[in-house]
Subunit: 129 residues, 4 copies
DNA sequence: GTGGTCTAGACCACT
DNA sequence: GTGGTCTAGACCACC
């Protein structure tokens, strides 16, 4: 897929990039799972600042069009949804487990952990009042 | 022991590995002296880069959970008291705060958080038995 | 504070960086609260990869010598007691043995080693003054 | 002369062998010209892989502590100085500095460090006798 | 701009 | 085959 930008246009450059990629994905010329060119590579190709491309990619990730994979690059995303009751619980567990494993490793037992959590929550409540 | 990792999470992959191994050791499902899977083997199994596993193992070594033997592998270390009381409290607070703020952000109130923590700890205790 | 590194040495580069910063902090030539050079800046200055410096700084953070502030930089941490008496002894022995065996290997006898250690410590003390 | 190795140590086994032989030679308990046990004999005695002993002997030959005679075996070499006085001092400092900075960071002061070094050297002397 | 994570692949030391 | 170090370069989160 070929991306073209015109610097003279009233449409912001990053918007031009976003729109063309979105169109490419919608028409299937960018298939799901396909790797996008790196931020710097595309910036170089279009003779743009890397931040501009980064901003465009970020917007596309926010909209669920692309996915980023740490250290690998950006890829065309499959669909998804967020924030059901189950999802909330899943997210809670996700942050609770590291906390509990650290606490247990430090030598605190279950009872102590609960007490510490209560103490901390009381302290937070006071601050907020 | 089975380790699972989700690449989309906000929790770094190496931290997920650390937490699960810590948990395995704390509950005794990884007995003292047991050899861990090799860095490359675990990396291959989880489809991760070997450096990511190496980083996780290194973190566990400096926390006294594992020991490494050059050219032989990693082993579960004998439990020992490493930190002063004050330092343990400091480290507990350090991991508790992000957990609590995330939980509160997700809309759980103080009482619910305590209940969830207790529930989770009970579940962990059952695994130990 | 000036940091120097020799690439040919058997001592890993990141360890050399760690040791020199530790020394600078211990002698007070790096006062508490002082900001460290940024990872990239120090990497550039020493002509090393940024990851190598990041690894050294990370080691100093977990030893309580430095603190990191996301997006701001690394700072010299206030001194604090981290380890139990037993753990301190354990760690001391761990680094003393390789040193002594190397010294004996070089042909220094016990008495000479003690003298050399005293000499070196006196020199370090002078720097502190 | 009796050689002992501990497999759990962080010090490589071949290094333990090297150090003990070197120490034996230095103290005269292994006189000049004496034949060393064969690689396989020593490997069998210590229940180690023959490669490990071969490597230790090779290191000792490289450092001028032993001499090999094709088809006959290894012998304690006549003493000769390999390193210049300056080089010896440089190498000593190179391994001493990391040790001292670690010790100081752990909270040991100069006097304590000297005492610990003396204690450790005494213990080593007893083992070798 | 800062640190933090991850990948890829190199080379070395030890068993 | 094991771990350990280092480089190069990507993206991420925060300020």
């Amino acid at each position: 897929m070929r991306i073209q930008v015109t610097t003279g246009s009233s449409i912001p450059i990053y918007r031009q990039v976003v729109d063309q990629i979105r169109h490419g994905v919608a028409t299937g010329s960018m298939p799901v799972g396909e790797q996008m060119p790196s931020v710097r590579a595309l910036a170089g190709e279009l003779v743009l600042n890397a931040n501009t491309i980064a901003k465009a990619y970020a917007a596309l990730v926010r909209d669920g069009v692309l996915e980023s994979q740490q250290g690998r690059g950006y890829f065309v995303a499959a669909r998804r949804e967020i924030f059901t009751r189950k999802e909330r619980q899943r997210r809670l567990d996700e942050v609770m487990d590291p906390f509990l494993s650290e606490a247990l490793t430090l030598g605190f037992d279950a009872e102590q952990i609960v007490v510490e959590v209560q103490k901390r929550l009381e302290k937070l409540a006071q601050v907020t009042d």
